[in-house]
Symmetry: D2
Subunit: 298 residues, 4 copies
């Protein structure tokens, strides 16, 4: 249900606002201000105009922009009484699948935050894994009102940028996406390892993981698509797990490699953390039945 920059440039102001009014939650006035600044050559230029509208707005309006935001996993979210985009974002973050104790914890954090700073806790949750979300919440609770006001506004901008990119196709999209990718090289044969099953898991706590993606390497030793792409990479610790043992069980006999059972290397885990959601994380596996290496590649 997106549109194009060209269409928006040509549309009546009312339609423009109808399309982009929800980019800033409960604040169609931002889109209205931007409508008057058309045409825009790029999505970036359009976003810059919306940002300026916010920056030049009255303090009351800017504060309303924050107070208008729903709490994370708050009552409004549970009852569906928030903007559709917020529902989608919180659902993606798994905030609709929390246990009662988890909800209770969020309720307590939300209450403490609102009590302390007079605004809801605002975070661009698409940029955080579950563990990072909670750690960030607690860290920000210990911050100052002034810093939190600025931080909340910055997070509102991040949320808006992602929403705008999703709504509008055009030149100069906003840089809101990162990537996790891999490839597997078999240095016994000196060629890409095809048919290697692998999975990417996220540590949602020091001991629990959830499956993020699984794939099998193609003839180039790569996955047909990056494991995460087209969105921010949530800040988290991840582990790639490669079924390397199966690969050499399959190709080894053909090469006459006689390998022990169990093999020295079977499932190979590569554990790494992402701190830059808009970064590209290429994490290859260069391996033999007895050795392997990885590095942050490009």
């Amino acid at each position: 249900m997106g549109t194009t920059l060209a269409a928006l440039n040509a549309a009546p102001a009312a339609d423009f606002v109808a399309s982009l009014g929800a980019v800033f939650e409960h604040a169609p006035w931002v889109a209205e201000a931007a409508a008057a600044r058309r045409p825009f050559a790029t999505v970036e230029a359009l976003f810059a105009a919306m940002r300026e509208a916010v920056d030049s707005a009255s303090d009351a309006r800017r504060l309303a922009l924050l107070t208008g935001h729903p709490e994370l996993a708050g009552r409004a979210a549970r009852s569906g009484d928030i903007a559709p985009d917020s529902i989608a974002e919180q659902t993606a973050a798994g905030l609709d699948r929390m246990s009662e104790p988890e909800y209770a914890r969020f309720e307590a954090l939300n209450a403490a935050y609102r009590e302390r700073f007079g605004i809801p806790f605002i975070l661009c949750i698409k940029r955080h894994g579950r563990a990072s979300l909670l750690a960030t919440f607690e860290a920000r609770l210990a911050s100052s009102a002034e810093v939190e006001r600025r931080t909340a506004e910055a997070e509102v901008m991040r949320i808006a940028a992602i929403r705008l990119n999703a709504l509008v196709a055009g030149d100069g999209p906003l840089a809101t996406t990162g990537r996790i990718s891999t490839h597997v090289l078999d240095t016994v044969q000196g060629r890409p390892a095809a048919g290697v099953a692998l999975e990417l898991v996220e540590y949602v706590s020091p001991t629990e993981t959830v499956l993020v993606a699984h794939a099998v390497t193609n003839a180039d030793g790569r996955t047909d698509l990056p494991l995460i792409h087209g969105r921010p990479v949530p800040i988290a610790t991840y582990e790639l797990r490669f079924r390397l043992g199966d690969h050499f069980r399959r190709v080894g006999p053909g090469m006459g490699l006689d390998l022990p059972e169990p093999p020295f290397l079977d499932v190979v885990p590569l554990r790494f953390s992402v701190g830059d959601p808009e970064g590209h994380y290429h994490v290859p596996l260069v391996a033999t039945p007895w050795s392997y290496q990885t590095y942050r590649g490009s």
Copy 2:
């Protein structure tokens, strides 16, 4: 409470048998036969004599050698009604700390095995981790009587070899020990990484691990002692976990390295399997804040 080969060579036959009578469970006649063959130049020669005594014994005696063995985690073991060495071995394997369901499972396996083959299930448990022990038990249940008879005798010999090494100091000890060791190299500085905390865990099931050893690397980037040594390395899948992130947090600033938080690499897991309990497994970590490699070294 061991003795020396020299002392055994010089001792009265009765004392010799008193010292070594328990090497083969409930079968002092093996030691008696060996006593008559003294003196022995090496522990290997002594063991060879005991092995010959068994090989040349009547089928009835050899069968008794098997039937005399206690079951793993069996009633006898639980009531302490087995040879002290067996108690120690089963305790080391954690067979005295199993849950009721685990006991029940062993009881069932023991009963099925005895029912099927007419002898107790005999395994040199010091050479197996928990997962391997159960997998081996089930695999052997599906074997043939003839093969199992030979396998059981081979296991009795392995058990006896370890007991003999523990009892007798002298030249030419039996090869019953393996080793897991590591070292950490910091290739940003081009020198061993000192002060790196690491732990070795064993996978007792596909998802559960138990801590086997922990250490901190010394000035040579090594642990003062191998993580496992002086005994067989139980057949199992292991994981070494290195606190690499802490190392670079410590040395990085001094080098002016400015690293992200969370770091790309924090706890680095190296997962590998041991199939040869008498083998040497040197598993080093050669690392920077952004890359690492490992291999089975020497």
Copy 3:
């Protein structure tokens, strides 16, 4: 001065032959036969038709195809009395820049070969470095007439394929090109190493090298173009030489890395051999001031 497959399909037969008559040296009849088989959907199909014309030609004509070929670095070549394509090919291989002794050696080899097999020595020299060319020449001198006849015909086809690709643009070009490429990764910083000067040399003898290409890595740690591409990679031993020391002299101080002078690693040589001229040889350097690795990548 090339043309397109579409144009050739539409052209009068005479023009078609004028364009492709030189693909098989002194044998326009091959193009004539192919002209009658038009149209061709791909360059491969066109080449298949030419190959069939040769295969179905009389033995006399096929022999003439071989005898019509100029000798390598022979008198004809030196006097320019050979087809323009042959001049270009021999020049590219440096056969026009040989010393008198080298010429003499080729004269001798040519004479011995013609004496022995009754045909000139034919080799697709674009697929061979200087050392390989001489080694191949000597090896083939020791071969049998029957094998050499087949080998010579196969080489004629390789030469023709390269010429055809150069002359005709269109779908389904022939696979006649290989590639040597590299990239440099700095695993102290966890990112591509930009601005690294490197050169590629070919060993023309066990001790002499000639410079093939030089480049400086770009922001992606790659060279803007592969070091060899768009042509066969001559069979030879190559060495990539990277000015790694200069890179860390440049970036090290900014990182606070304090490195010795001379540095442990300064110019890093990676020596490798190419046996498959149509292969892709990606030879990266993954390095710190104290370590590096390479592998045949993809």
Copy 4:
């Protein structure tokens, strides 16, 4: 023809001086002063006493210590008119095998240095390769008289320390030796690569090398002895060259590895520079037929 610290502690002063009088060239008074300070618990303590004798000597005597030194590759050296130790040291450095132009260059440098600083150029040549020796000579010519006086005294101490270690066996020897060592690991098989021929060459100029050592790896993938040990490692750029291709030609077929000819990797060169003659340089090769890595190990 060395002696022991114990013997020297017990010897008459005259014998002590006879043994150690040549440690400082043409300056037996240093040994005389030390003789009066006996007994010494360690060689280090003995050397400290000799150093103190020099430090507390008159300026004239200390200057004489410098002027008494022979020039490098000077007339005295060529005519053998210098102390035996100096002959041996200069011979080891190849200064007796220089070409006429090289001699001429040294003569000129020596003259310019003596002219400028009034003392001969003094350098502990055992710590320098040929290229470093010349570079150092030229660099020091550009230095100041004050700095050169201190540098010359420091070099005299280095020369004396090496001579003393060679003459006297005892506890606490002086740290005057470094090491270059290697090992080769075959990560296709996951074990040390035995029987790999390798050589160590020194770059005596940017383009010329001289063979320093050659060896074949043993069953541990190591050389029976370090390639350089028991002496300072001359400051120089070195290259280790491993016949890796031969190794995989030998073991590959047994493993069913089917490798191209020429192999991708045949002779693998590892080039590195030594800046610390008393350092330990362990430079391993961890390799497959298609990849390898090295690092400064421990």
